[in-house]
Symmetry: C2
């Protein structure tokens, strides 16, 4: 790899020391507020720093300190192609990442973001390489097997989002099961619907499994017909949701009164497929989501869903990781509360408006 040909090589601490007429140790001390340098020394160092535009090298600092002040975040990228049509799934992950980033900021950490293609080879190796550049890692849903996580955790502290609790790592998630139960109760008790289907997400996603569990438990508890099964298997994407509707209808099947989707994105695809066929939402079929992604309130009708404190999940993940970077204490599993957001797609009309909660005047 060719060395960068900068006009003038970046100044080092030696240059600063030379210019200020002090030792490198003094420069370091001034820069880090260590010891108690004489006022005179201090100003001369500061001035030299200023004049040279000196910025300490992060790598050298990290090597010496054994602390890089960087955490890594890894998530899945939709497609391998470079310019796949914009992926709405951006939303959920990006909001979490924003939460991580803001929390990291407050501790003087930066965030190394890395996506992994769906069919990329040797993901564990890629992730290990990233781990080498960081002090700790946050993994999104379904990035690594439990065994691989355990192995990674021997190198750096690891926090997973929407994973399974693991003896080696901490997991941050929200109360998927409880959220789903509240939602189902609203549909059954407040609306009195008689049949509902669960359009699932990835079968191997812990979040999906928990939501499915909540769905089944609550329908059973209220004695209402719960429709599930392989036909109702989606994949968290809008396309997946639309495809399921197509299969059901083309197969001559009949739609239930309510379709409970594993996430907002799936609901978006379902609503699209329904409107294409002239089926009214919520008049003929009610639809609900899960997540409360920002776009949910702009759909027509606005989507009834379960709000996860998305950004806070990210922030919490960082906070926990941070505490584990300093020591190895802390909980194994953190569960954040959810909130039912009733809009119109469930059949309610009391929505406070399309823009409820946007903060627009």
């Amino acid at each position: 790899m060719a060395t960068a040909k900068r006009v003038k090589a970046a100044p080092t601490i030696y240059d600063v020391a030379g210019r200020a007429g002090v030792s490198i140790a003094s420069v370091s001390r001034v820069l880090n507020d260590q010891g108690s340098p004489r006022a005179d020394t201090r100003t001369r160092v500061l001035q030299a720093v200023q004049e040279l535009g000196f910025v300490p090298d992060g790598a050298a600092r990290a090597l010496s300190n054994k602390l890089k002040k960087v955490v890594g975040v890894v998530f899945r990228r939709g497609a391998e192609v470079r310019f796949a049509d914009e992926d709405e799934s951006l939303l959920f992950i990006d909001v979490i990442n924003r939460g991580i980033e803001v929390a990291a900021q407050q501790r003087g950490f930066d965030v190394l973001m890395s996506s992994v293609g769906v069919n990329e080879a040797n993901v564990p190796a890629r992730i290990a390489a990233i781990a080498g550049k960081t002090d700790g890692m946050i993994l999104h849903d379904r990035m690594l097997s439990a065994a691989a996580i355990a192995r990674l955790a021997e190198t750096v502290p690891v926090v997973t989002l929407a994973g399974k609790p693991n003896r080696a790592s901490v997991n941050v998630g929200c109360d998927n099961e409880g959220g789903m139960r509240v939602l189902v109760r609203h549909l059954l008790v407040d609306h009195g619907y008689g049949s509902l289907a669960y359009l699932s997400g990835h079968a191997d996603s812990p979040d999906n499994m928990a939501r499915a569990r909540g769905f089944e438990a609550e329908t059973r508890a209220l004695g209402v017909e719960a429709i599930t099964g392989p036909i109702w298997q989606g994949n968290y994407s809008a396309g997946g949701g639309a495809k399921v509707i197509g299969s059901v209808l083309d197969g001559g099947g009949v739609l239930p009164r309510v379709i409970v989707c594993a996430n907002d994105q799936t609901a978006l695809g379902v609503m699209y497929a329904l409107s294409r066929r002239g089926i009214k939402v919520p008049g003929e079929v009610a639809v609900t989501g899960f997540d409360d992604v920002p776009v949910a309130r702009h759909l027509h009708p606005p989507l009834t869903t379960v709000r996860q404190p998305i950004q806070e999940m990210g922030a919490t993940a960082f906070d926990i990781l941070y505490s584990r970077i300093g020591a190895s204490a802390g909980a194994r599993h953190v569960v954040l509360p959810i909130e039912l957001i009733v809009r119109e797609s469930c059949g309610c009309t009391e929505s406070s408006g399309v823009f409820a909660g946007t903060g627009i005047a």
Copy 2:
């Protein structure tokens, strides 16, 4: 700062060398495909690496190589508060960042993301600190003054997005002026509207200035009344757009036939404010945006806008930065083409549907 208390300290290259019975130089060579180690040596090293779960330390590597394989990206965060209500402006920036990240990946680089609060103190210092952890920086709109950018560029290569071209850095943007002219021409020629206002973005944003320029040039060229001025000053946000509508109407003013917004987000706020007052879009007032953020197609009516190749802008920014990290060649200014996206908010009805371009089956 307390040192991390890991159960077992991460293995170093010495541990690997010891276990494999070779020197650290051999380990390094095997790991980097340098020289031609004997097959025997190679396998022993690889095995030791495997057994120890060794991952080379990025900081040490960077220090030795003078190459961190990390680029920094800095952008504005909406509010200082930790959990401001989700910010839709996420979208535009995040899509660009995704483009950067994917392109970086292909070169084995990772991306250090860092947001800066709107009213954060001493931004240049924060950015300089980040620069110390990277090989190059990409700055989003309005992050630093031209002078500050020049200073930063003495430390690392810098690429700006939507900034002004600068002798020290390269700028990547799209043809704002041309895009606006195409849009205005559509509104005036195809629809024959008689009056239109430009609801601007941040006054000091180069992108906004270019769009305003295109707007004025084209309306003048076609001899139609162009409404601008302080009342029509927005700030790229939905709230800003809504507020402008409020001011105009409350001030007893009359709305023009068309409101051309500086970006999609502003258009979203405008459409909201209009619908609140019972004003029909596009029947009474047509509205247009700029950017073609994913949510634009889900609005009611779907938003007519100008598409920027958002993700590609990010990728291009990285590619240019990458080439400058190796050498100091390259163009000063890159302009990407735009595309007019006609949906319904301008008054057209030929939209191919709410989900046009989503890739949903």
